[in-house]
């Protein structure tokens, strides 16, 4: 029984780590880091009716989605968020996706992802975020974080439910990009991890993390072989 348990433990660990790796790589896209949300943080509340619409202009080719920072995160049972990428006039849907409480938990903010748009540099789009309430009414309405500050004087978003446009404010959203190949994505991750790190570890940071995973597997393999 003990032997079977040990085998099961190591196999479960390997399986668990495999699932984590797949989930991580599946979500590996890089938010545009050129702008930070400096200013006063606001709440763009998600109402039962209507959507939040924000015009966005894209700086790079290969747009693959948006990172969206939601406040009091975690959708409860029945709740749904629908994301749409619309044309510049906020009329024609180009991409759409929805997320519910049953969706895989995202890493750092909500992620609205789609197939890369090769020629996205300089293009104007409109991002729509719509909320559908669940079975139980929340005490506090869910909201998207927004920022008001000098850097965002040209930005605005519209709450179609209330028919109100907030000028000089932006929703806290970042466009997502990624290199075409898996290897390119890992290389980009390594580049980000290496910046502002000692020169002798540049290019090795992610590898050190991976070695930690492999050593962990070895540790459990060794420790499971014999008991006291």
């Amino acid at each position: 029984m003990k032997y079977r348990f040990n085998q099961l433990l190591v196999l479960t660990l390997a399986g668990g780590i495999g699932l984590l790796v797949i989930a991580f790589l599946g979500q590996l896209r890089f938010p545009d880091s050129s702008v930070n949300f400096l200013g006063e943080t606001k709440r763009a509340e998600l109402g039962k009716n209507g959507a939040l619409l924000q015009p966005v202009r894209i700086d790079h080719n290969g747009l693959e989605g948006f990172q969206i920072f939601m406040g009091n995160t975690g959708l409860s049972f029945g709740e749904q968020l629908s994301f749409k990428l619309l044309d510049a006039n906020c009329q024609v849907t180009i991409q759409k996706q929805s997320t519910t409480s049953l969706s895989l938990p995202p890493i750092n903010g909500m992620r609205f992802t789609f197939d890369p748009i090769a020629e996205s540099r300089g293009e104007a789009y409109c991002l729509s975020i719509e909320y559908r309430p669940g079975l139980i009414d929340r005490r506090e309405r869910p909201y998207i974080r927004a920022t008001e500050g000098d850097m965002f004087l040209d930005a605005s978003y519209t709450d179609t439910g209330k028919g109100k446009t907030h000028v000089g404010r932006t929703l806290q959203i970042r466009p997502l990009y990624a290199p075409d190949t898996s290897l390119g994505r890992l290389q980009e991750l390594e580049n980000r991890l290496s910046q502002y790190k000692p020169a002798f570890v540049k290019g090795l940071v992610a590898s050190i993390g991976l070695i930690g995973i492999l050593l962990g597997l070895l540790f459990f393999r060794v420790i499971s072989r014999n008991d006291d």
């Binding site: 780590i17 938010p31 790190k197 940071v205 420790i223």
Partner: protein, 490 residues
């Protein structure tokens, strides 16, 4: 036994421990590189203090007396060295600290940051010329040894020196894992079971994170761990000179590390009393009055022989209360701190609240941990009333001491927090879980024992510890790859 067999047995026995230590170091180095520099709690102050201590005694540069107050949102207003101020500014310290949605500005297709060359050029002043300095006023062994390292790597860039300072913390963390192993061995557990127990400590996400940043807390964790190891020695093996030396050394390290180290000084007489009680087989019912008298005498002696200014500082006797009386003050404090949400916050920050406490484990994970702890709590309670507890579990006196150690530290931290609250009517210090990490070994020992009690047999107990170790390892991977990494890089 022939020498080759002895060597093989030793290698066999310590292979698990060796592998665990290597694994812990790799996980620590990984996190030391993952958390951006200066983004550990108060890391900029701790590193500035290390650098300040590394300055020559005789200041050969002009000193300016400054009356300007530093602003908490502007690192360049702090009276640190020019190098720390400018490097932290270029590392976007203020933009990232506490701002969960902000990150560094990354340069595409390059392993070098936008301002990296400027930071590594080593052209800024490395000494403080604006006084009074904003370095920590605490005298700590951590700063003493850290400053020696800072001086040794003087020709390196600041990025290298911060990384080496973090590795110094990691070294202390590794010693703590070793102490956890040694403590488990003293409880009579075999080498593999002890390595498994030590792995619970080594994989605790917040412990790894604390070992991977520049902060004096890790030395306090080590001091408490060493003290607990010494206590187990005393309580299980007798009063050897080795046990006495270990506990006294731990008390010394604790006191000369950080304020809460004084808790060890209070725990020491408790330990001595427990050892004497066991040695003389006293019936506590007969000696209850003597015990109370001894405690009273000891307290009086402490008050008589401690210099008044130390007592006054320690108990904050000089501060003026913002409340009408102690009862009103304590009631208001209890109302603010004794709630489910405050308890959840302390638990979350004990298990995983990384960086500037702005990258946290989810509440769902914390609830699973609490469920496991609840099962352990009931097992422990049952065990204490069991006349024939399983022999493979630690003796009740060890468990009792672990509980006392936790109660003493809890009381001390909440007492200081209340004293500040009493004067300001604000929770300024708070009770973040990392303040309770010094009791990580007693805490995890109690959890392991509580769950182990339900296991019933040693074989099942080992399987339980193995499962816990496995879960906590997955939690540490999840913390670094799914919480810390995305927070700062994705």
């Amino acid at each position: 036994m022939i020498p080759e067999q002895v060597t093989t047995n030793l290698a066999h026995r310590y292979f698990g421990l060796g592998l665990l230590l290597v694994l812990f170091i790799v996980l620590g180095v990984w996190q030391a590189l993952l958390i951006p520099f200066f983004q550990g709690p108060d890391e900029q102050v701790h590193y500035a203090t290390v650098q300040y201590w590394a300055e020559p005694d005789e200041k050969t540069w002009p000193i300016h007396e400054s009356t300007e107050l530093n602003r908490s949102d502007d690192i360049r207003s702090y009276r640190f060295s020019e190098e720390i101020r400018e490097a932290a500014y270029r590392l976007q310290f203020d933009e990232i600290k506490w701002q969960t949605t902000n990150t560094q500005i990354f340069v595409g297709n390059s392993p070098n940051g936008q301002f990296e060359q400027e930071i590594t050029d080593n052209t800024w002043k490395r000494y403080i010329d604006d006084y009074p300095v904003n370095a920590s006023g605490t005298w700590s062994l951590y700063y003493y040894f850290g400053s020696k390292m800072e001086s040794f790597f003087v020709s390196s860039s600041i990025l290298n020196r911060i990384f080496f300072s973090r590795l110094f913390s990691l070294f202390i963390g590794t010693l703590t894992v070793l102490v956890a192993y040694a403590a488990a061995r003293k409880l009579g557990w075999g080498s593999r079971l002890s390595a498994l127990f030590a792995s619970l400590v080594a994989f605790q996400p917040m412990f790894i994170a604390t070992s991977a940043i520049v902060n004096i807390d890790i030395l306090l964790v080590f001091a408490f761990s060493l003290f607990f190891y010494g206590a187990i020695n005393w309580l299980t093996g007798g009063t050897s000179s080795k046990s006495v030396c270990i506990t006294l050394a731990a008390v010394g390290i604790g006191i000369f590390t950080k304020g809460p180290g004084v808790v060890l000084l209070a725990l020491f007489p408790v330990l001595v009393a427990m050892v004497l009680y066991r040695h003389f087989q006293w019936d506590w019912r007969k000696h209850f009055l003597e015990g109370i008298l001894a405690l009273f005498t000891l307290t009086c002696l402490v008050f008589i022989f401690t210099p008044p200014h130390i007592l006054s500082d320690f108990l904050r006797l000089e501060s003026v209360s913002a409340f009408s009386g102690p009862i009103a003050s304590l009631s208001a404090y209890a109302e603010k701190t004794l709630s489910i949400s405050a308890f959840l916050w302390t638990t979350t920050t004990y298990w995983g609240s990384f960086g500037w406490l702005d990258a946290r484990l989810s509440e769902g994970i914390i609830r699973i941990i609490l469920a496991i702890e609840t099962v352990a709590f009931f097992g422990l309670a049952w065990l204490l009333f069991d006349r024939n507890p399983p022999g493979f579990l630690p003796a009740k006196k060890v468990l009792l001491f672990a509980v006392l150690s936790i109660i003493f530290l809890q009381f001390a931290i909440r007492f200081f927090d209340w004293r500040v609250f009493d004067a300001t009517s604000k929770i300024l210090i708070g009770t973040p879980g990392r303040y309770f990490l010094p009791n990580i070994i007693p805490h995890l020992l109690l959890i392991a024992t509580g769950i182990g009690y339900w296991a019933g047999t040693k074989t099942r107990f080992i399987l339980v510890i193995k499962t816990l170790s496995f879960l906590i390892f997955l939690l540490s991977l999840y913390s670094s790859w799914f919480i810390i990494l995305p927070r700062y890089y994705l």
